[in-house]
Structures are given as structure tokens and as C-alpha cells.
């Protein structure tokens, strides 16, 4: 299965999903003009990944800001990861937030509550 690589822009996050290592990175800002167009390939990739996922998947989320529709898609990503976990595989979410960015930290906590996935909420050092 191919890896997924989407270069980040001022409006869209940088995405680097590696199917063989099970390390998925998403970082930057997510305010795309068309969220569906941006996230559709990501969700499609995850649907395919669910069938070939290695024993452990780690997703590193380091977002600076995202809009409302992106928050729904992030939830969709976590839902797919939860399905992988339900298949007996290990999944870990590493949620990074910048120093003093309480909003992003609390957002990570909310996603942890609602997704049912194990989270590590980590402060990024300057």
C-alpha cells in the first residue's frame, strides 16, 4: 500500500501517513476552502489502511488551528482509528500543543473523551 503525503500550505495541514511503519503525522493549520476535497483522500487512505495496518499505529497530531468542519473530519479520522483498535490492534494518539496554547490542549482532552482512543497530550517545547 502506498504512503500518503500531502504537503502543508498556509491553509491546509501537512500530512505524512506511512502504512508500513504505522506512523501517521498531521501538523500545521487546517482551514481549507473545501474540507471535503482535502480530507476525502485522507479518509479513503485510512479505510484502505485499516486492512493492512501493522500491530501498532501512532498518530502524531500537532495542529496550530483548525476550523469547524476540520474538527468533524478529525473526529472521522479518530473513528477510523478506533475501528482499527477494535480489530485488536494497538493505536496511540500523540496530541501536541504549543506552550501556553491551552485551547489546543483542552481540545485534545475533548477528543480523547469522545473518541475512546488512548491519548498522550504533550507540550511542544519552543
Amino acid at each position: 500500500m502506498d504512503n500518503l503525503r500531502i504537503e502543508g500550505t498556509k491553509q491546509t495541514p501537512d500530512i505524512e501517513f506511512n502504512a508500513s511503519t504505522g506512523i501517521l503525522n498531521i501538523s500545521g493549520r487546517s482551514i481549507p476552502e473545501n474540507t471535503f476535497e482535502f480530507f476525502n483522500p485522507v479518509l479513503t487512505w485510512l479505510d484502505e489502511y485499516a486492512g493492512v495496518a501493522p500491530d501498532k499505529t501512532v498518530i502524531n497530531v500537532s495542529l496550530e488551528y483548525f476550523n469547524t468542519s476540520s474538527s468533524k473530519y478529525i473526529l472521522e479520522i479518530f473513528k477510523r482509528l478506533k475501528n482499527i483498535m477494535n480489530d485488536g490492534k494497538e493505536v496511540l494518539v500523540k496530541w501536541y500543543y504549543e506552550e501556553d496554547d491551552e485551547e489546543m490542549m483542552e481540545t485534545g482532552e475533548d477528543y480523547e473523551d469522545v473518541s475512546g482512543l488512548p491519548f498522550e497530550i504533550l507540550e511542544l517545547e519552543e
Partner: protein
């Protein structure tokens, strides 16, 4: 397969429930199952709405705070810019002042030479009085300061006009660049 739009799954669930309702041949068991499914979907939707609203509000606050910080920084930048412009103006005035003084001094020296070489011998010939020549020199000396002030004001006015023209030109260029972007 990813959904075609952000709420596609929810729309599909709703359509399914509507279709079921249109049927007339369902059993009590089927009705219960359909209702359970609808309830679960509804519950999930509420959970989603709750979390998305919460996150959205929080990030909106973050955005507002960032905007406030930006406004404050802009204000500080504006104040610093004003101070900088004042300093630049003061420096320009000082430079012009020095230039005006040099010009006036040069003119005074020139007048002195002209007066010594041509005017004074003519006056001495016409009015053989010591005080006339001295009075003339005194007038030239008295006129030095107002002359310097006048030259200074004139040069300053010219420099400001040039500055204003340059600023207008820059503004026009910005507007043109902005309309091109749009």
C-alpha cells in the same frame, strides 16, 4: 469508501429511516430495531454536535485572542512608526537647516565681495560719507538671519511636497497591486 460530503453518513441514516416509515408492512420487532438504530445514530450525532460546538467555540476564542494581540501589536507598530517619522522629520529638518545656513553664508560672502569690490567704491564716489557704506553692510548683516529662515522654510516646504508625492505614488502602487490580487 469516504463519504461524499461532511454529513453524508447522517443524511444516509435519515433517508433510511424515512424509507422505513413509508413502508406499511413492518413488524413490531422491525420497528423496534429501526427505532433503536435511529436512536443510536441520534445519540452519536448529539455527541458529535456537542464536541464540535465546544471545540469550535474554544478555537474561536483562540482566534479572537490572537486578533486582539495582533491589533495591539499593530497599534504599537503604528505608534513606533509615528515616532520614527517624527525622528526622520527632525533629522531632515536639521539637515535642511544646515544646508540653508550654508547657502545663506555663501550668499553673504558673495554679497560682501560684491559690495567691497564694486558697490562700496561706487557709493564712496557718490556719497563721500563713511556711514552710508557702513549702513549698507549693516543691512546685509541684518538680512542674514531672516534670509536663512526664509531659505530654511522654502527648502522644508519643497522637501515635504516631495515626500507627499512619493507617499501618494507608493499608495497608488499598493492600490494597483491590491486590485490586481483581487
Amino acid at each position: 469508501m469516504a463519504k461524499q460530503n461532511i454529513y453524508q453518513q447522517e443524511i444516509e441514516n435519515l433517508d433510511q429511516a424515512k424509507k422505513f416509515l413509508q413502508r406499511s408492512d413492518y413488524s413490531k420487532m422491525e420497528l423496534q430495531l429501526e427505532f433503536k438504530k435511529l436512536l443510536e445514530n441520534y445519540e452519536e450525532l448529539i455527541d458529535q454536535v456537542k464536541i464540535i460546538t465546544k471545540i469550535s467555540d474554544r478555537l474561536q476564542n483562540k482566534l479572537n485572542r490572537t486578533n486582539e494581540k495582533l491589533e495591539l501589536t499593530n497599534q504599537k507598530l503604528h505608534d513606533t512608526n509615528i515616532k520614527l517619522n517624527e525622528t526622520i522629520d527632525a533629522l531632515a529638518e536639521a539637515k535642511i537647516g544646515r544646508k540653508a545656513a550654508t547657502i545663506v553664508l555663501f550668499v553673504a560672502i558673495l554679497l560682501f565681495i560684491i559690495s567691497e569690490a564694486w558697490i562700496e567704491p561706487m557709493i564712496e564716489k557718490a556719497f563721500p560719507n563713511f556711514w552710508v557704506g557702513l549702513g549698507l553692510k549693516l543691512i546685509v548683516a541684518i538680512l542674514i538671519k531672516p534670509g536663512e529662515d526664509f531659505t530654511n522654510k522654502y527648502m522644508l516646504k519643497k522637501a515635504r511636497k516631495k515626500q507627499l508625492e512619493e507617499a501618494n505614488k507608493a499608495e497608488e502602487t499598493d492600490v494597483k497591486a491590491g486590485s490586481k490580487k483581487i
